[in-house]
Symmetry: C2
Subunit: 416 residues, 2 copies
């Protein structure tokens, strides 16, 4: 699959004046460092403004990717969207907010006197198709990747080239970070209208080439505690969350930025783990409480601490988002040993050959000393698979027409 | 078993000048309301001083009890202790601290001019035997009950009648609360020497006769996260714990005392749950993190919230100590329905007839509405059994010689 830098028009393949665009965006939010958790910690629910700044690592599209195609045409009778091949309700308030915002930016651009290279009516209806190559709603930030890709693709279709933070943010708060590659900060901002609540890159994807990311996908377990009910209430009910956002996160953000700039893995890893734990602590302090970590998550935490204790230094670090899956940071020289440790403690149950996905990892033997330190009863099957990946770039335009999700008729192509 | 109010001497049955005493103490700390968690939150490790005040309910000895027998004799050659029939090391620093403290109080009493009714040498060695009728080290505060009972029994043997808070506290912080029945506050105190860190009764056991306590003993699961390593570090590593202790606990203690005085179950229950959640949040914020709640604990939390939602009010409340077992508070008119709900969601696997222990509970049928609200897949066997109990009195002296754990030779009686 090749990425280009320009948008593509296919008037010849359209049922009318069709403009189609394709983007692919990384699920950046799944590797957060100082979670803002807008969905649970919003200072403004309508505008999706967070109660603290946050930082995330954008993961590489070679392993985790959303692909989106958008098209407009005077022949379309309504706005429509297909997610992973299934039509969904375009009336969803967050989708509508994104559409409204991108059309507003396009109008503004036109009224500012920019010449529109593609003078299409802004009143044309839009068709959108989007697909993830990773499990949706599994705590892998599919909505962040999805809305970032949507914002990016719609911007191409409508010829908008201004900052898209607000468009993406209105869909899913953390999506604004996924608009950039590398290490990205979402500055919470201060203005009530949210105009200064934007993403900016702290360091590009090339900054720390040794850094690796392992996603430990935990087997589907009974969901022990519903989150929806509590999601709206954290800000109101958790005194710890308020204290954390006001007093603890600001110095941590500064420290994290420094760790990244200096490529100091020890400090980076420790702060990442502490911040993940503290975020989940504030979830538990919500009433009714929210708990995303499962027993398997906790065993992974224990494994990481024992692995580090064995080495006498922080060689591996975990972070957990809104689900039981672990995102593990390490350096390239440690990947093979840690994957072997995971395999030792969580032996694959049936799909041994598909246990490791993504970047290739050499099999290595664990030392007896490390095995003794890990010392856990193996829990077969509780980790479904590992995705090995690394830091990646922001959204890209797809030049390959074969990758388009909508056909010349503006409808999803039949699955290959 | 009958309880008396005086100590018993058996010179005739002793191998020398044997003085034996028997106490039974309740595991008060297992139903905490605003946990102080000295073991994890000590401001002074040697003196066992907490970083915040706390409150507990003393459970009834008819269901949960420690029994202790102590004896001194000039013929004993060393201090010895048997716990649940097995000899343990009396050199344990905490046991030594209790012994040292009780002997100090006895010397002080003598030097203050009190006539000792039993002028035995303070240099005599002591034998102690202690038994729990509930699982040790299962998060049911066996050490709190044990040290309270030990302090109380030693005080009888040595003729000490002053406040025993310090003796008990030196063994296990929360043990000082178990010296009283009913609702007991452990005032953190301010003095560096800990002399004002004492327990006092907020309301006697007769204050709230409708209150019931259900202990949901969770089946042995793989312990997901070691606690020992982290226990010493909470105060140093958790900024949330510090904030909680300083800013949040003091007003909560006042509110909790008011709820109890007014027998306001709704407010009492909500605060109990919030405080339990917040304590466990600070455990998670410790580095490395501590997690006492298991997936089963979280399912119990969910069950309670759904049960309350169904009734439109807080009829049941949970609290968790340093383990996965739940302590559930409710009123007598709700016990039967809630036990049925637990049985519905966690059907007993094999010991159906032994699933419910303690106070009798009428079997009732759940309404279809409630079943629908609970809506969880049953998880057979994950709750081992329920102990139904209520608020109880403080330590008692046992008059029945048949209940003594040491024989006339000062050694543990053979098991009956």
């Amino acid at each position: 699959m090749s990425y280009g830098a320009d948008s593509v028009i296919h008037p010849e393949s359209s049922p009318g004046n069709l403009r189609a665009d394709w983007g692919t965006a990384p699920p950046g939010a799944c590797a957060e460092l100082a979670p803002a958790r807008t969905s649970r910690g919003k200072r403004d629910e309508e505008l999706i403004l967070p109660i603290n700044s946050s930082l995330s690592v954008t993961l590489h599209q070679d392993q985790l990717k959303t692909t989106t195609t958008a098209a407009i045409s005077r022949d379309f009778t309504e706005d429509r969207i297909w997610l992973n091949g299934r039509e969904e309700d375009m009336g969803h308030p967050r989708l509508q907010a994104c559409l409204r915002e991108i059309r507003r930016l396009a109008r503004k651009r036109r009224s500012d006197g920019h010449e529109d290279p593609l003078p299409l009516s802004l009143s044309y209806k839009v068709h959108v198709a989007s697909e993830n190559n990773f499990p949706t709603a599994a705590g892998l930030a599919s909505s962040a990747a999805g809305y970032a890709c949507l914002a990016y693709t719609l911007a191409r279709v409508y010829g908008v080239d201004s900052d898209l933070s607000e468009v993406a943010r209105r869909g899913s708060g953390s999506a604004c970070r996924s608009l950039y590659g590398g290490f990205v900060e979402w500055q919470m901002g201060e203005r009530p209208d949210g105009k200064d609540s934007v993403a900016c890159q702290v360091a590009p994807e090339s900054h720390w080439p040794e850094l690796r990311v392992l996603i430990l996908v935990v087997s589907a377990e009974r969901k022990p505690m519903g989150s929806t009910a509590g999601m709206q209430t954290s800000v109101e009910t958790s005194a710890l969350l308020k204290f954390r956002a006001e007093a603890l996160v600001p110095p941590r953000m500064a420290e994290m930025t420094r760790c990244i700039r200096e490529r100091n893995f020890q400090a980076f890893g420790q702060l990442t783990m502490k911040d993940s734990n503290q975020f989940h602590a504030t979830c538990l302090d919500t009433f009714p409480p929210i708990s995303y970590l499962s027993d398997t998550s906790r065993r992974i935490i224990q494994l990481v601490h024992r692995f580090n204790a064995h080495h006498g230094q922080t060689k591996v670090a975990y972070t957990f988002d809104a689900g039981p899956n672990a995102v593990v940071f390490t350096l390239d020289d440690t990947v093979a040993e840690f994957v072997a440790a995971v395999r030792h403690s969580f032996p694959p149950e049936s799909n041994g050959d598909k246990f490791l996905k993504g970047l290739p990892v050499e099999p290595v033997l664990l030392s007896d000393e490390l095995k003794a330190v890990l010392g856990m009863d193996p829990v077969p099957g509780s980790i479904r698979y590992i995705i090995a990946t690394q830091v990646g770039p922001g959204p890209q335009v797809l030049d390959d027409p074969g990758a388009h999700l909508l056909g010349p008729d503006g409808l999803p192509k039949p699955a290959a």
